[in-house]
């Protein structure tokens, strides 16, 4: 565990000092600033618009962080053979995977926490300016949704780590991870489309296609399960059951993926 933490520490430092972090932070600040600027354009639901924009800024920043910095942290080790140095120390392949993943996770958590503080300030400011139009807003829901943005990014981080273990090229890792992300965000619509009556139009393909989509729906994470943006925007109550399910689903998916990654990684050769 000590070794895992040591590795995650340097991964974290390497990530947080990356210059692209500043770019991503600037981008999110821009969105937050835009939010403050445009809030006055809306008539009633200023609270909803604010929450929408804040959570989207967090989510997009998280995606950029995990796809660019996260992929880099994982794949550059292999690309540039730093992994030879690391593995020449008494660190097992499994410890390497977990150390790297935790490092990426700390890195993302820290970055998102900083952005969350900034976005809280935005919300507070706008809440003060347009106090009458924040009727349905609730802080607990806002934080829950922000936390699930982090959970979503954590799942994507595990996907990045997993793909880095089976490819030796950071670009391929990036492409695969983005594909997984796109499938993950759209799978729910597809699954429910197939379940709804409309799919019966395609009787010829439906049986095999349905099976295939069913299988995919277990392989790829359903990222819509981590989306609480609408609820936060309208201050709707969310049951603990749903929160628990989403969290458990994400956590088990991450662990499963990392176990597989460790196994693949320990069979892998580095030349």
């Amino acid at each position: 565990m000590k070794k895992v933490m040591a590795l995650s520490r340097i991964t974290f430092l390497e990530g947080i000092r990356n210059r692209s972090v500043f770019g991503i932070a600037l981008f999110s600040l821009f969105i937050l600033g835009l939010n403050i600027a445009v809030a006055g354009f809306f008539m009633r639901d200023v609270g909803k618009v604010t929450v929408d924009m804040n959570l989207s800024a967090l989510s997009v920043a998280g995606l950029l962080l995990v796809f660019f910095v996260g992929v880099n942290l994982m794949a550059k080790d292999i690309d540039r053979k730093t992994i030879h140095l690391v593995l020449s120390k008494p660190i097992s392949r499994m410890e390497y995977i977990w150390g790297k993943y935790l490092g990426i996770l700390f890195f993302i958590a820290t970055s998102l926490a900083v952005l969350l503080v900034l976005s809280c300030l935005t919300v507070l400011l706008l809440n003060g300016m347009y106090a009458g139009y924040f009727g349905a807003f609730s802080w607990p829901m806002f934080f829950t949704a922000a936390f699930f943005v982090f959970v979503k990014i954590a799942v994507l981080g595990a996907i990045v780590v997993f793909f880095s273990t089976i490819t030796s090229n950071s670009f391929i890792t990036l492409i695969f991870s983005i594909c997984a992300f796109i499938i993950g965000t759209t799978i729910e619509e597809v699954v429910f489309y197939l379940r709804s009556g409309f799919a019966e139009q395609e009787i010829a393909i439906s049986e095999s296609l349905r099976k295939f989509i069913e299988a995919v729906s277990y392989l790829v994470p359903n990222l819509a399960a981590f989306d609480f943006k609408t609820e936060a925007a309208h201050g709707l109550a969310v049951g603990w059951g749903r929160i628990g399910f989403s969290l458990g689903y994400g956590a088990v998916y991450v662990i499963l993926l990392l176990i597989l990654a460790s196994v693949i990684f320990s069979r892998r050769e580095f030349n």
Binding site: A6, L7, L13, L87
Partner: protein, 305 residues
């Protein structure tokens, strides 16, 4: 201590591409306290051998054992310090952070890490740079930082892949002194290089690798002058009569590509010189060694074309 037994390794670079044999039937035994150098042209399989030894890749055939234990069961990483060729260390870390990681990964306490790290940085003149991010380091500094990283846990076996490549003379001297120092401490050192001069001066044994094969293992006696100092003169091919005239003065006569190399103790230089003059033999060249490592190296490469 380390035993490599008939190792084979073939790389498959990808689908539809020809497989590349990297190491073919390599056997080598490394004893405690040995300083062994592998020399060979690029692509000879030196780095592959080292990676197999580190467990980064698995040999297709053959076995590696460390202190009599098969490699995969031996916790070799606690005993090994490894410096790769052109180490890429993390861009945004400082040397201090890197060493802290190295220490923790090897199970050292932070006090030990600090002490050992301080000593090493002192020795390699890195103390001033310890708080700078590694991306600002020059190539030589990175090499030395890599050495600090590798030696922090005081390993008994040191593996260096091209430790001298890309260094300026000062840096080379520093690394050279360090290896000499390690040798003095009785460490086992295994390195590969194509800077033959360094290998020649440092090693007890030298393995010549070409095309994935270990062609010869030379002992120190084979490539370095030993005992009393000898001189070697290269002359045109001599006749029977001239040879018999010179014979009593010489310790050895060797024939080499149509010429003769005459070896004799340094103290009989005057006598030999007079005799050569008397026989009207022209001296073409002189050498410090009868056969330099470089020649042996070139010879071996030629033979294996």
């Amino acid at each position: 201590m380390i035993e490599l037994k008939s190792l084979y390794k073939t790389y498959s670079p990808g689908l539809f591409k020809k497989k590349v044999p990297a190491v073919r039937g390599l056997s080598l035994e490394i004893n405690h306290g040995d300083v062994i150098g592998l020399v060979g042209p690029n692509g000879a399989g030196k780095s592959t051998t080292i990676r197999m030894l580190l467990g980064l890749i698995r040999p297709d055939r053959g076995s590696i054992s460390f202190r009599g234990v098969p490699l995969k069961d031996a916790d070799i990483q606690y005993d090994i310090g490894y410096l790769p060729e052109n180490p890429y260390l993390y861009d945004h870390l400082t040397l201090e952070e890197l060493l802290a990681f190295s220490g923790r990964a090897s199970g050292l306490s932070s006090a030990e890490t600090k002490k050992r790290g301080g000593e090493l940085m002192e020795k390699l003149a890195m103390t001033e740079a310890r708080k700078r991010p590694l991306r600002t380091f020059s190539k030589g500094m990175l090499q030395r930082a890599g050495i600090c990283f590798a030696l922090l846990h005081d390993p008994s076996v040191v593996i260096l892949d091209e430790p001298m490549s890309g260094l300026d003379p000062v840096g080379r001297k520093m690394v050279f002194d360090l290896v000499t120092d390690l040798k003095g401490q009785g460490k086992t050192i295994f390195f590969c290089s194509h800077i033959l001069n360094d290998v020649e001066r440092l090693c007890d044994r030298i393995g010549l690798m070409v095309g994935g094969r270990l062609l010869r293992v030379l002992k120190r006696e084979d490539f370095a002058a030993h005992g009393e100092a000898s001189l070697h003169l290269v002359v045109n091919r001599l006749g029977e009569q001239e040879l018999s005239g010179l014979h009593p003065l010489l310790s050895d006569i060797a024939e080499e590509s149509g010429r003769h190399v005459l070896s004799f103790p340094a103290k009989s230089l005057t006598a030999v010189s007079e005799q050569l003059h008397a026989l009207n033999v022209e001296v073409l060249a002189s050498r410090s060694d009868r056969l330099s490592l470089e020649e042996m190296f070139m010879q071996a490469v030629e033979e294996n074309r």
